[in-house]
Symmetry: C2
Subunit: 276 residues, 2 copies
């Protein structure tokens, strides 16, 4: 038996369409409807088998038992307010945004059965053209319930993520945003600073080290502007720590302290080894 009758996915980008495909392939929904600001993206998702049909208005949400908000973080709260007008009682609404505190607070106030989710999957590539059925397989999905979240809702959404191969991890929205500032948003910010630092005429000499270090900077600018702004305070705190590490290395170089330099390099190497 399907877990859901009608799932509406709003935003058929990389995450939304990959999620649709995963739901359909595992027969977790009887019907998946996709909506997109860009109709060609929703049509592409349909052709790829990620959704059954393209919805053209939010009123399709009225028949849904699950609505997935898969739009950029700075659009989620306004979208939740619109969706709230159409959904029936007990319809679950989740988002898949990269920041959580503000979204969970605001969308949670508008929709009783709202649950914040953040699958740690994705890529610098965007759009339904890059969808992957197994995008979530083996990845973590952070779920951020509040004291008001119903137990049945939390159980059902956790089961959903498990069925598509992700490992649900429960955190508060506050914890989520603090952690992600270090593990995702700061690396994004340093990648951007790094590619901007390299003189254009030197790019021809960029080897795999530079490519890997800057890969995420190829991501969509609008999407990341929203993430940076939503998690501004945590990101600024992480940046402060990073600048301190940088300053430490600079001083070691200035003082030609080779012994300490090797110690820093070695402790970094060992710590990187713990990143599976």
């Amino acid at each position: 038996m399907s877990m859901f009758k009608r799932v509406v996915i709003i935003g058929t980008g990389l995450i939304g369409s990959s999620l649709g495909l995963a739901l359909k392939k595992r027969r977790l929904a009887q019907e998946v409807i996709g909506l997109s600001r860009l109709p060609e993206n929703a049509l592409l998702a349909k052709r790829s088998g990620a959704i059954d049909s393209v919805g053209f208005s939010l009123d399709v949400c009225s028949g849904a038992d699950l609505v997935i908000l898969a739009v950029p973080v700075d659009k989620i709260t306004a979208l939740a307010a619109s969706v709230a007008k159409f959904i029936k009682k007990r319809c679950a609404v989740i988002d898949v945004g990269s920041t959580k505190e503000d979204i969970v607070l605001k969308a949670g106030a508008l929709i009783p059965d709202f649950l914040g989710c953040h699958p740690l999957a994705g890529s610098e590539k965007r759009g339904a053209g890059n969808l992957q059925e197994d995008l979530f397989k083996g990845s973590i999905c952070i779920i951020t319930p509040t004291p008001a979240t119903g137990k049945a809702l939390l159980k059902k959404i956790s089961a959903l993520w498990k069925k598509i191969g992700a490992r649900p991890v429960i955190l508060t929205a506050k914890e989520h945003d603090r952690i992600l500032a270090y593990t995702s948003h700061l690396p994004h910010l340093t990648a951007i600073s790094l590619i901007k630092t390299v003189p254009e005429k030197y790019l021809a000499f960029g080897s795999s080290g530079l490519k890997d270090a800057t890969r995420v900077s190829a991501s969509d600018a609008g999407l990341w502007r929203g993430i940076f702004m939503a998690n501004r305070n945590n990101l600024l705190a992480a940046l402060k720590s990073f600048r301190k590490e940088l300053k430490g290395l600079e001083e070691v170089l200035e003082k030609k302290n080779t012994k300490k330099l090797e110690k820093i390099l070695d402790s970094a190497r060992r710590k990187r080894g713990k990143l599976k």
Copy 2:
């Protein structure tokens, strides 16, 4: 006909052993002898077919027409001085180190037919256990002749790199070091600072973005200590530029200047697109 009669590779790590295998597979040398500070590494290289035999003393260089110094940068000059005592006239000596100015100056003064080389290939993985026959295929090899470099030598070594799939690019040692400070050494330094900044308990949430951004920090500490120290001044200059970019982004976040933030993100995205 082989290009060389006897090639001696000193240092059978990732680069040295991959180079040996590439030479042997393409029959560019009649005999390849490998030497290593770690005999097990040289034996591993022999078992992998990267060298014909393991040499136990530098006097094997006396019969060589090419000696390749494939040891960490801070060991190259001293090694060149030792090798100089054994080689016959007209024996070509090249290194494959990641910095060039100091090495080319000192080794060039000791060995008339010395030529600095830097294949932009490699990985955070080390040792003959990770050797790859095609490591140099499609990569750039920077060659740094001086006004004293003989034309025949430059021609022969350029041909060698071409035959194993690399594209030789000629630069002065000074240019090389300035460029690599930005394209390799700075990304290495920021990767180290980044992994050190992330609190250990958050590492479990590290996704592909963090992994890629910090991959190079898993490299050998001793090797990179040498590279950082040899290219200290250029690296400090690159670091200064990087800190300026970082400061710019910090200010934009502090002032909540979303318009400028998107502009920066977008220009980074476009620049990253030029990195092939």
